[in-house]
């Protein structure tokens, strides 16, 4: 590979747009050429900075509610709606803000632990103690080792392949830690029994990971991954869905 064309090729390479052969040739070149390796590092550094630091704006609950029953709302005249919508959004924001403040201490600590446990397990290469894509293998394995029966879902049809599971701990209690894979992304899922009302998937972030918390039917899921926020939220919603 020639350095003259490398900036363009390098971008194609970093964006995953090259075929295997050309990607391999770029990789060989990166080992040999310090200047291009530095460019490559800068490129990945910028991407990591963007993905870790730049806020992913999720749809406000008020907007989600308004567009979720389209016949009733969306098709009405937008001028009327815009005014009402903004007032409504402000109220929702105030409510959310209040509950976030109350829950924040507890939530942030568990979120912190969930990310730390996921990172530790990834680095130590011990994400799973039982490796299987069959939930009929994983679920009994977990149930035998825990004092509750964690739901284990097969979401391969939606692109999320089960990799396996281990027993881990959150907040001083043994929990089920499931691992799924989506393309190149690993997804850590912590499941524990939890009283309290059901919640919609809530998106949080920590140390560059996206984290989604959701509660349903006396279970709570903490989902941790470098996968993008909307897909991770969809995944968490699918995990907590009935059936």
């Amino acid at each position: 590979m020639n350095c003259q064309e490398s900036p363009e090729l390098l971008a194609l390479y970093c964006d995953g747009e090259l075929g295997a052969l050309r990607a391999a040739s770029v990789e060989r070149h990166l080992h040999a050429c310090t200047a291009c390796a530095t460019r490559h590092d800068a490129f990945l550094g910028l991407r990591a900075d963007i993905r870790e630091n730049v806020v992913y704006h999720t749809a406000p609950p008020g907007l989600r509610r308004r567009v979720s029953s389209p016949e009733d709302h969306v098709l009405r005249r937008s001028a009327i709606l815009a005014g009402a919508a903004m007032g409504c959004a402000a109220t929702v924001l105030a409510l959310v803000l209040a509950s976030v403040t109350i829950d924040y201490r507890e939530t942030s600590s568990v979120r912190h632990q969930a990310v730390a446990r996921h990172v530790d397990a990834t680095l130590a290469d011990r994400l799973v103690a039982v490796a299987s894509e069959d939930r009929h293998t994983v679920k009994p394995w977990l149930t035998a080792r825990l004092d509750f029966a964690p739901p284990v879902k097969d979401l391969a049809g939606e692109g999320f392949a089960l990799v396996g599971a281990r027993v881990d701990a959150l907040d001083g209690r043994d929990v089920a830690a499931l691992v799924y894979r989506y393309r190149d992304h690993r997804i850590g899922v912590f499941v524990r029994p939890r009283d309290g009302r059901d919640t919609e998937p809530e998106l949080l972030a920590e140390r560059g990971f996206n984290v989604v918390q959701v509660r349903r039917g006396r279970m709570e899921w903490w989902v941790v991954s470098d996968l993008n926020a909307p897909q991770l939220r969809d995944f968490a919603a699918a995990l907590a869905r009935d059936g």
């Binding site: 350095c3 900036p7 363009e8 971008a11 194609l12 964006d15 995953g16 747009e17 050429c33 310090t34 200047a35 530095t38 460019r39 800068a42 490129f43 550094g45 910028l46 900075d49 963007i50 993905r51 870790e52 630091n53 730049v54 806020v55 992913y56 704006h57 999720t58 749809a59 406000p60 008020g62 907007l63 989600r64 308004r66 567009v67 979720s68 029953s69 389209p70 016949e71 969306v74 098709l75 937008s78 709606l81 815009a82 919508a85 903004m86 959004a89 924001l93 959310v96 803000l97 976030v100 924040y104 942030s108 998106l203 949080l204 972030a205 993008n228 926020a229 909307p230 939220r233 969809d234």
Partner: protein
Amino acid sequence: MSGPSPSSRFAEIVLPHLDAGYNFARWLTRSRPDAEDVVQEACARALRYIAGFHGESGRAWFLAIVRNAAYDWLERNRSGELSDEASIEDVADESATPEAIVIRRAEGRMLAQAIAALPVGYREVLILRELEELSYKEIARVADIPVGTVMSRLARARALLMRSPYLHPIDERVAGGGT
């Protein structure tokens, strides 16, 4: 035989991508209430056109509609921005939303401002690639430009960002290389 109703198809095809649509609209308009209006308008259009949607990526399809709604909105309200030179001072100082309070770091704010200050044509390809993780082909479809233009705009957007004060140290290292 009649198929599923437009509203159930809407729920199935569009709603899963509401966050993506809102994030995109937010980065295009750089304002929370405006992004809400744009997404609401985009949802109304999506519902109207949903019978014509067949098979391809629902995400790219909806993002293209959000983009059109956002551009219509920009044309009506801030037509200056569409004529390329977005001024840096124009960036709205966004009040922090709850999720932002949790996530935001000091560097993140600076980087976000640097991105918000990019001309909209560069900003949109960057957001679609780095935050939505779309392929060049999907970006081309959403932004209605050829793949070659996606590549050149991405390169330009990245170069502008790397030159922003936030990334100066890296920029100097890179500028020294190149044999």
